[in-house]
Every structure is written in structure tokens, then in C-alpha cells.
């Protein structure tokens, strides 16, 4: 199918040629879709896929027929072809047997009812009249071939779409799929928008309606026509879209450009003629969507983060599906070329360079009568255009921060290093003794031990738990040690937590010691409420019900031991609770990662002691050798990173010197 035939479709009522994707005739308003509704053909009777294919391909029928030079309206060899019709009449009977039933019925009806279904049959009759017997055979063969190609293209497109959606939701720039599709549809439009932005800023900012310029460019892009710079001003186009003088000027310029590009746009009366590719009714575009595999679904799944409004979703869906439908109605090659543009911009560029030559004859063949203005935008179209303009305005703005790039190489490196560490740890565990070297305690850890040893038998100790299961191996051995030590001294500590996780987590430790664990509601706010608590004269506070045994948590407490993996929790405790009970000595068991941020509190005397994980206290409940192996490996890796960077820099410097 050539590009010429794709562009125009003849109205069966008035004979006006319309763009192939136009759903109504631009002259008489006749619904062009009706032309493709086939009598006697029940789409519901077929399977979903067939139905979709049939509907889709029926839209192609006319285009394919038009495409054939034998039936072209402006075919200069019309007289010759009519002669051939008579010559090949006899051959037609043979080829009829191979044709589909519904096609035969159309022809039959067209023959019988010259003006019956009116406009429906008229077009067919008009076409049939042009056919020769010999031509019919060729047309039918061409038709079958086209049908086959369209189906193939359609299936390829479906497969590609599903692949694309799955794999490329967000590209390396963090741009979502829907935005990229819009860019692909309007690559030059965005540049244009940027270039004209200063002018628009003179008015009310960004113009949120479709301008004629945009429509022209859009159509040109759809038709693959080259852009021609404006040279001399001609007539001014009056539309209801112009919102400002600045925009009007641009429209005038654009009109000049478009008139140069489309010399046929002026009709006989000399009125300016504008072609645009916005269909009259967006919903009709969905008629040929195959198998319900609408891009709208895909886009909904992709969940555009910054545009949650349904209208925007619809817009995007319609823009995408609409454009795809347009491509679909343009024919198989149209789809193919679109795909190639998506897949390979290089190829697409080459094609756009070649296209003007191919399209030139089509431009010549179109008379000025054949294209009429269709300037009015429907209200909903305008609204959608507004949202669309906003979406384009988002161009270049990252909505979701991309923290790092996940390259396959990076993943492989991470995997290799991870496996290396796991292997090293595994070997250290399986081979040799676990190790029992006594590590020297740090100063805060020594202070913790001293502080704990200073606790007398008659003193009250409160232990506050706030840790996750992830860090239990770093904390629970120390917690157990503390409990054992207190038990030896005959002290029964009170153990509380405000972290729900500790209710099930601490069971391992507390079940053995038969100590109850109490829950304090409200997290740090709860501890603060208990810290400032004074029994009111009017009765009970709500929290008194939550701690029925002893509502005053800090009554008589001399020592508080915090068991927490969070420096934030310990800091909050020192800020919110210790300040109200300064006479209570506080010490903490925490993880190695929290220790650096808590050392200043030990240095300032707010924390009497601090133990940072099993390594700090020398209480290795895990394989010590494995720990040392892991640490050594990290030293090597860190050094390796430094060396690699130094080597990279040296290579760069050497290259610079060479230059």
C-alpha cells in the first residue's frame, strides 16, 4: 500500500476526499464509518480476536481500495482501465469464488440497490463502477494481501506494546512511559513550545489551547510532510482558538507556513482551508481497538504519579490510542513506519527525509475542493488539549527521583561481592573453631559495666526495650547477660516496651527468665506522659488503665537500661524523659551503628554507660572468626575501591597527556 492512498478517503455522499482518519466528511458531515459497516456481517458472532481484526481491517478496506491505482479517482488512465474492465469480465467469475462472503454481499447489494442504503451503497457503487473485470481480480488479490499484512502488523504491534509496557515503565531518565509516548507523538511540538514561550509569556502565560499552528504541524507530521519555513505573509486565519494578539501573530505566521506547505488548502472561493487531525468524536476512535488491549489500560497500570485525575488518564489514553488508531487506519505500512520510528529513531529520520518525495504526487493529486476547513474544537477536546499542554509542560521535570541506576553490570557486581561475603562467612563457620579472643572493651562499655555493678540489691531497675528483629543478634546476648547479672544480685527489673514488635520478639529472652513485659501506649509520648505524671485529684488518667499494676512507671526507679537499636530513641528518651527524672541513672545497650551518635551523650554525662553491640562487650554469641573474616574482606574491598579510583584517574591523566 502506498502512502498516497493512506491519506485520503472519498465521501460516498458528496465525493469529497477526507483524511483517512476523519470520521465524518468535512463537507457534508456524512459519517464515513458507516461506509465500513457491512450488512449481514455480525461481529458478535465471531470470536473476540476475529471481531477486533474484522473491525479493524474493515476500516482499512476503503483505504486499500483507494490505494490501488486502478480505482483512484484522479487516475489519468481511467479510460483505459474501464476498457480493461470489459476485457477481464470473464475472469471475474473465477476469482469471485475465492472472495469472502461479506465482500460478495456488498458487491451484490451495490449492484442491486443503486441508491438504496443511500450513502452506504453509493460509495461502493461508485467504486465498483470504476472497476474493470481485470481490475477486480487485482484488487481482490491486493485486498487479501493487505488483510494478511494488516493482521501480521497488528499482532506484531500488540506483542511489542505489551513488551514495551512491561519493560519500559520508567526509562533511564526517570520519565514514565506515557510521557515518552507523548514525546514520540509530538517531538517537534515541544521544541516549538519552548521557542515560542517568550511570546506567550507576554499574554497570560502558557497558551492552553490548540493553536492552528500546532494542528498544522501535527497533521504534517502525521502525513510525513516536510516543514517549510515561512517566507511571505498572506491571509490571516480567523479561528475561535486565538486567545491573544501574540498568539494571533503566531497563527498568522503559521498560516503562512501552512499555506506554503499545502498549496491546495485554499478552496475555490479563496477561503483559507485548514486541515487538522483531531477527530470529531474521540470515542469513535475506539471502535477499531483490537481485543480490548487498549493503551488506556496500560497507561492506567503505569500510574502516572503527578496526574492522578481521571480526566488526565482519559486524555492520555485517548491521545495514545487515538494516535495509534490513526496509524491503524492509515494502513499497515503506516503502522509499520510508526513502529520503526519508535524502535529506531535513526531509521525514522532517514524515512522522514525520503518521505517528501514519495508524498509529493499525492499532494499534487489533491484538488482544492477536496479539503475543507474544520476549525471548531469541541469543548471537551479543548479541555483535553489544555491538560495535554500541561503534560507537555512537565517535560524535562523529574517527578520521581532516580537515586541510582540499576545497570546489569552493577547488579552483577553486587551479586558477585555479596556471594563472596556469604561464601567467606560460610567457610569460616564450617571450617575451624569459632574463635574466643577477648576484645578490649571501649571506655563507654567499661562505664556501663561499672554502672551495672554498682547497682545494689534493694535498688529498682527499669529496662526499656525498643529494637527490631533485624538487630536482635546484636542486642539480645547483651540483654541476656544483664538479666543474668541482675538475677544474681537478686534484683527483679521491670521490663516495658512501647514497640509492638517487642511483644513477640522479646519472648525468646523473657520466657526463660519468666519476667512479664508491659506495653506502654503512645511510644515516646507515652514515656513522656509517665515521666511528667502526677496523680490528678479528680480521679484517673486514661493511661492508668493501660498500666494497671503500677501506673507510675518511674516510682522508686534508680536505674534505667535502654535496650534499643535506634540512636533516635535513646536521644528522645534523654530529651523527653531524663530531663523530668534527672536523678535516675540511664545507660544503654545499642547497636554498633547507633553508637557514634550516642557517644556525645556519654561524653556529656547524660548516659552513664553505653555498649555498642556484641563486638563492643566481647559477648560474641556468633562465630567470632566469621566476623573477623567479614571485616577483613570489607577492608580489602574498600582498599580495592580506592585503588580502582586511583587507577582510573591515572588513566585519565595519561590520556589527557597524550592529547
Amino acid at each position: 500500500m502506498s502512502d498516497q492512498g493512506d491519506d485520503l478517503r472519498t465521501c460516498p455522499n458528496c465525493g469529497q476526499e477526507n483524511a483517512s482518519f476523519t470520521l465524518r466528511c468535512i463537507r457534508c458531515g456524512q459519517e464515513l464509518e458507516g461506509l465500513f459497516e457491512l450488512e449481514g456481517f455480525d461481529p458478535a458472532a465471531t470470536s473476540g480476536e476475529d471481531q477486533a481484526d474484522e473491525t479493524f481491517t474493515s476500516a482499512e478496506v476503503l483505504a486499500s481500495l483507494e490505494d490501488n491505482p486502478l480505482i483512484a479517482d484522479d487516475d489519468p488512465d481511467e479510460g483505459e482501465s474501464s476498457d480493461k474492465v470489459e476485457e477481464s469480465d470473464g475472469q471475474q467469475c473465477e476469482t469471485d469464488q475465492d472472495e469472502p462472503d461479506w465482500l460478495e454481499r456488498i458487491r451484490q447489494r451495490a449492484r442491486e440497490e443503486e441508491d438504496a442504503a443511500g450513502e452506504l451503497a453509493k460509495g461502493g457503487i461508485a467504486m465498483d463502477d470504476q472497476r474493470t473485470k481485470e481490475g477486480r481480480k487485482q484488487v481482490d488479490e491486493a485486498f487479501d494481501e493487505i488483510m494478511r499484512r494488516i493482521r501480521e502488523q497488528n499482532e506484531r504491534e500488540k506483542a511489542r506494546r505489551s513488551r514495551r509496557v512491561e519493560s519500559d515503565l520508567v526509562d533511564e531518565n526517570g520519565d514514565p512511559e506515557w510521557l515518552r509516548r507523548i514525546r514520540e507523538l509530538h517531538p517537534k511540538q515541544e521544541d516549538k513550545d519552548e521557542s515560542i514561550e517568550p511570546d506567550l509569556s507576554k499574554t497570560d502565560g502558557f497558551d492552553d489551547e490548540w493553536t492552528e499552528q500546532e494542528l498544522q504541524e501535527l497533521l504534517q507530521r502525521e502525513m510525513g510532510m516536510p516543514e517549510v519555513p515561512a517566507e511571505e505573509p498572506e491571509e490571516e486565519v480567523t479561528t475561535e482558538l486565538s486567545t491573544s494578539s501574540a498568539t494571533n501573530n503566531e497563527l498568522e505566521e503559521e498560516q503562512e507556513i501552512s499555506e506554503e506547505r499545502f498549496p491546495y488548502q485554499d478552496d475555490e472561493a479563496g477561503n483559507p482551508v485548514i486541515i487538522h487531525n483531531i477527530p470529531e468524536d474521540e470515542e469513535e476512535l475506539f471502535y477499531a481497538e483490537p481485543e480490548g488491549e487498549q493503551p488506556s489500560d496500560q497507561i492506567e497500570n503505569e500510574e502516572p504519579t503527578e496526574f492522578p485525575a481521571q480526566a488526565e488518564d482519559e486524555l492520555i489514553a485517548e491521545e495514545v490510542s487515538g494516535s495509534e488508531e490513526i496509524q491503524g487506519t492509515l494502513g499497515a505500512e503506516g503502522i509499520g513506519s510508526e513502529e520503526e520510528e519508535h524502535e529506531n529513531p535513526q531509521v525514522a529520520e532517514n524515512e522522514t527525509e525520503e518521505e517528501p518525495e514519495q508524498i509529493a504526487p499525492a499532494e499534487k493529486s489533491v484538488s482544492t475542493e477536496e479539503v475543507l476547513p474544520d476549525l471548531l474544537l469541541l469543548k471537551n477536546q479543548r479541555e483535553r488539549a489544555k491538560v495535554f499542554a500541561e503534560i507537555i509542560g512537565q517535560e524535562g521535570r523529574r517527578t520521581i527521583a532516580v537515586l541510582h541506576e540499576n545497570t546489569p553490570k552493577g547488579k552483577l557486581g553486587r551479586l558477585v561481592l555479596g556471594l563472596l561475603l556469604v561464601l567467606a562467612v560460610l567457610l569460616a563457620i564450617l571450617l575451624g573453631p569459632p574463635g574466643s579472643a577477648e576484645l578490649p572493651s571501649s571506655v563507654p562499655a567499661a562505664a556501663f559495666t561499672t554502672n551495672l555493678e554498682s547497682v545494689e540489691a534493694d535498688e529498682s531497675v527499669l529496662i526499656v526495650l525498643d529494637y527490631q528483629a533485624a538487630t536482635r543478634n546484636d542486642l539480645e546476648p547483651l540483654f541476656k547477660k544483664v538479666l543474668d547479672f541482675l538475677k544474681e544480685k537478686g534484683i527483679q527489673p521491670r521490663i516495658v516496651t512501647a514497640n509492638p514488635e517487642n511483644l513477640w520478639l522479646a519472648g525468646d529472652v523473657l520466657d526463660a527468665s519468666l519476667l512479664p513485659l508491659e506495653y506502654v501506649p503512645g511510644g515516646m509520648l507515652g514515656y513522656l506522659a509517665l515521666g511528667v505524671r502526677v496523680a490528678p485529684s479528680w480521679g484517673e488518667l486514661p493511661m492508668d488503665q493501660a498500666l494497671p499494676d503500677e501506673p507510675d512507671l518511674f516510682s522508686g526507679v534508680d536505674q534505667v537500661i535502654l535496650v534499643s537499636d535506634s540512636a533516635e530513641f535513646v536521644r528522645s528518651w534523654l530529651e523527653q524523659v531524663s530531663t523530668w527524672r534527672p536523678w535516675i541513672e540511664t545507660s544503654a545497650i545499642t547497636t554498633a551503628v547507633s553508637a557514634p551518635m550516642l557517644l556525645p551523650y556519654h561524653d556529656s554525662g547524660q548516659l552513664q554507660g553505653l555498649v555498642a553491640g556484641v563486638t563492643d562487650a566481647g559477648a560474641f554469641s556468633i562465630n567470632q572468626r566469621a566476623f573477623q573474616v567479614g571485616m577483613l574482606l570489607m577492608i580489602v574491598i574498600l582498599l580495592l575501591g580506592m585503588i580502582m579510583k586511583a587507577d582510573e584517574d591515572a588513566q585519565k591523566r595519561a590520556e589527557e597527556r597524550k592529547r
Partner: protein, 224 residues
């Protein structure tokens, strides 16, 4: 070990192995493990909040009016009901009252706590280092104490300045005098040292967890 324990053990093992699929990328298995964790944690939290907070603090007092004032109980009930309006879009302004109240309480607690619990003690600690009793030992200068006190003061000021300077430089993109850059660099040294210690601490905690996990796997295999 009964069947249920074995089943739970296997479930835990499989889910934890799924976590390691993250090394191959953000895979489906990793997602399943994460969503399981989130779902189970959320379920347990709801249970705790209802049974340990809402029931005893809101519902139970309503049944024991004589213990406290009726008005106080009603106020407590109102405090519990207001946030529920967050669910409904139309009445979310009503919920805003309770959230505003909560924000006010937290802000006040923050102001008091931060100033009394961190700012004052930490600043005093820097000043205390210059206490003559700490800077001398038996009538002689304690050089290490003096060095440490000055280092602490200079270091803390440099760190604070490094942050401030970085912010203003980002904003103004101006050329700062070289001594300011030097001070910033001095602050960055201390920040780098602290971050290095945190990095090692994080790795140490992770390594302990890894060793415990590998040990868990080894024990599991040995169990069979």
C-alpha cells in the same frame, strides 16, 4: 518439633531466602517478602493498638464513670473519634482539629526536649572541657586535655559551619574566601570520620545478622 512448627520454620526460611533475591534486582520474590512483612506487621500493630490502647484507654473508662469525671471521659472519647473523620474526604477538616492538637503537643514537647536534653547539655559539655580542673593535673598543664578541649570546640564549630557554608554556597553559588573553604574542609574531616564510624557500625551490625543467618541455615541443614 511438630508439623506446625516445621511449617512455620520452612515459611520463615523461604521468605528470608526471597529477600536475598534483591541481589539480582528488585524481583518479584523480594516484593512478596517485603509485602508479607508489611502486612503481618500492620496486622499485629492493629491488634496491639486496639487491645492495648483503645480498649483500656477509651472504652474501659466509659464503663467506670464513678472513677473519673464524665466530661473527661467524653473528651477522651471525642479525642478518639475525631481522627476517624480522616477517612471521609468531606469531613477531613474535622479530623484536622485533632491532628492540629497532636502537632501542637509534639511541637511543644520537641522544643522543650531538644533545648533541655540536647542543646544545653552538649554546649555545656564543650564549655566544661575548659574547666581549669580538667586542664591541669597536679598543677601542671594537662596537654592532652587542653588539646582535646580546643579540638572539640574547633571541630564542632567547623562542622556547624561546614553545613551552613554548603547551604549558602548552593544557594548563592558565590566564591567564598579561601579561609572559609579551609574551615569547611576542617569540618568535613570530622564529618567524614563520624560517617566512617557509622559505616563500619552499620556493616558490623549487618555482618552479625549475616553470620547469624548463615548459622541458622547451617543449623537447618544439619537438622535434616
Amino acid at each position: 518439633m511438630n508439623n506446625l512448627d516445621l511449617l512455620l520454620l520452612l515459611a520463615g526460611l523461604v521468605l528470608s531466602l526471597m529477600v536475598f533475591s534483591y541481589l539480582l534486582g528488585d524481583t518479584l520474590l523480594f516484593g512478596i517478602a517485603m509485602y508479607t512483612l508489611v502486612g503481618a506487621t500492620a496486622g499485629f500493630t492493629v491488634l496491639v493498638l486496639v487491645q492495648k490502647v483503645i480498649m483500656p484507654m477509651v472504652i474501659t473508662p466509659l464503663t467506670t464513670f464513678p472513677k473519673s469525671s464524665v466530661w473527661l471521659e467524653l473528651a477522651t472519647l471525642l479525642a478518639a473519634l475525631l481522627p476517624i473523620f480522616m477517612i471521609f474526604k468531606k469531613s477531613s477538616r474535622v479530623a484536622g482539629i485533632s491532628l492540629g492538637f497532636l502537632g501542637g503537643v509534639v511541637t511543644a514537647a520537641l522544643i522543650v526536649g531538644v533545648s533541655r536534653g540536647t542543646l544545653v547539655p552538649q554546649l555545656l559539655s564543650i564549655v566544661d572541657a575548659f574547666d581549669p580542673s580538667r586542664m591541669t593535673t597536679a598543677g601542671l598543664p594537662n596537654w592532652s586535655g587542653i588539646f582535646e578541649a580546643f579540638m572539640m570546640l574547633a571541630g564542632v564549630l567547623a562542622v556547624l559551619f561546614a553545613f551552613h557554608h554548603r547551604k549558602t554556597k548552593q544557594k548563592q553559588d558565590s566564591l567564598a574566601p579561601s579561609w572559609l573553604d579551609g574551615l569547611t574542609g576542617f569540618g568535613q574531616i570530622f564529618i567524614g570520620i563520624t560517617f566512617g564510624a557509622i559505616f563500619v557500625g552499620l556493616f558490623s551490625t549487618g555482618l552479625v545478622a549475616l553470620i547469624a543467618y548463615v548459622q541458622y541455615l547451617v543449623d537447618f541443614v544439619r537438622l535434616w
